[in-house]
Symmetry: C2
Subunit: 270 residues, 2 copies
Amino acid sequence: MDTRPIGVFDSGLGGLTVIRELEKILPGEDIVYFGDTGRLPYGTKGKDTITKFAAQDIRFLHSFDVKAIIIACGTVSSVAFEETSAASSVPVFGVVKPAVNAAIKATKSGRIGVIGTSATIRSGTFEKEILSINPKAQVTSRACPLFVPLVESGHFEKGDNLTTLAAHEYLDELKQSGIDTLILGCTHYPLLRDIIGEVMQGVTLIDAGGEAARAAQKAFAAMNILSSNRDGGKCRFYVSDYTDDFARLASILLAHSLSGYVEKTDIEKY
Amino acid sequence: MDTRPIGVFDSGLGGLTVIRELEKILPGEDIVYFGDTGRLPYGTKGKDTITKFAAQDIRFLHSFDVKAIIIACGTVSSVAFEETSAASSVPVFGVVKPAVNAAIKATKSGRIGVIGTSATIRSGTFEKEILSINPKAQVTSRACPLFVPLVESGHFEKGDNLTTLAAHEYLDELKQSGIDTLILGCTHYPLLRDIIGEVMQGVTLIDAGGEAARAAQKAFAAMNILSSNRDGGKCRFYVSDYTDDFARLASILLAHSLSGYVEKTDIEKY
């Protein structure tokens, strides 16, 4: 048993979909969440910048004596996982491997699609990981650079005209390519599940963030570092910018109102 | 005469539309441009963060012994103009006043529209400035948070389905409100001039960045700090992140291929 908190970070608020999952499956754990809202998005930026930002995020979380870190960000997990793990003194979990394992388990045809930010897709990490496990798999990838700004500006309700049009633009070819499984490789995308699901009817959607949370749970159990706080764990939220919209958007991503400790931090000092 | 360079900065590449104008009207001037591509966008962030970033941008430009600074960013000009000017030892020019002067000159009905980023519109700066000159003006403002990501992801060609749909969502009400003049309060928006113009037929569009460039030219002449390099001025470009797409997008914003000195800088050190 280890009562130290779990550290979780993302470029912004997308990672709160991972917190939502952790709250369900690990209700006794304390969590420190950092969202780099002051410098988001990461997914349009270059590898050097993403790696540098992730190293600062890791150093910030280390200052809370965390027992493990979950990278709740598809971009960092894809572009800078090794560098980020190497910089951490505690175990680091990303979203790529858990999502890939789930997709390989789900697919029947071996045709798997991957969507994510520009940086994620450019890295080719999901594809490499899938092929390393199943070299016969056929992988079709597509960057969806507008999905994050669409979510952040509130365009995620089922039937939203703009997001539905963007989804068709990004996904029609993927659908036609005959995939039976699609990895949502960005932690914002579960918010677009209804819209993506409508365009990709009959295709199994894999939520990379949710899979990461479940994989972390198993790993914590195996490592015997689970906590068992009977009163329920506490979650502290840190962000690098606090905009007017923060509480509203956070509530949507968490699927409950944002309560507890919320603080702004100067991440550039780390 | 003053041969020192002019410093120009923006959250990213939108400010290159100002460089394009400066190259036309002040071809003899040397320019140092900084685009904070590593931390963009600014327009979705809070005032503290925007003010801090702008102070670093100013300090970076000061390191080149610039003779004046143009804030080629609607968000910084609206949210943190006073703080930014106060932090500078050389004259600072923003985009708000020049755009407001042009709009007041252009309007016949006194009904003026303003569009910009969320932070720009939330600040109310354009509206306050218009009313301080013409208290009888009627100002209608609207944040268009998706326009910057749409431009940055290449959706700016005339007839683009997604941007046209977004433009209708943002602008139909503005059109119905009966404005005859619309300030494009973000330096990315000139790229959407065709699409915005189609939705806002009969309405005069004011390009805030272009107006800022022309106002700066007049001020430099009045201050007797114009340069007159017969060989033509040189422009050096600095960015805080260098993504794959940088050169392509920069060429579009500049309306010519990106040539000359381009370097990445660590803005967080300033």
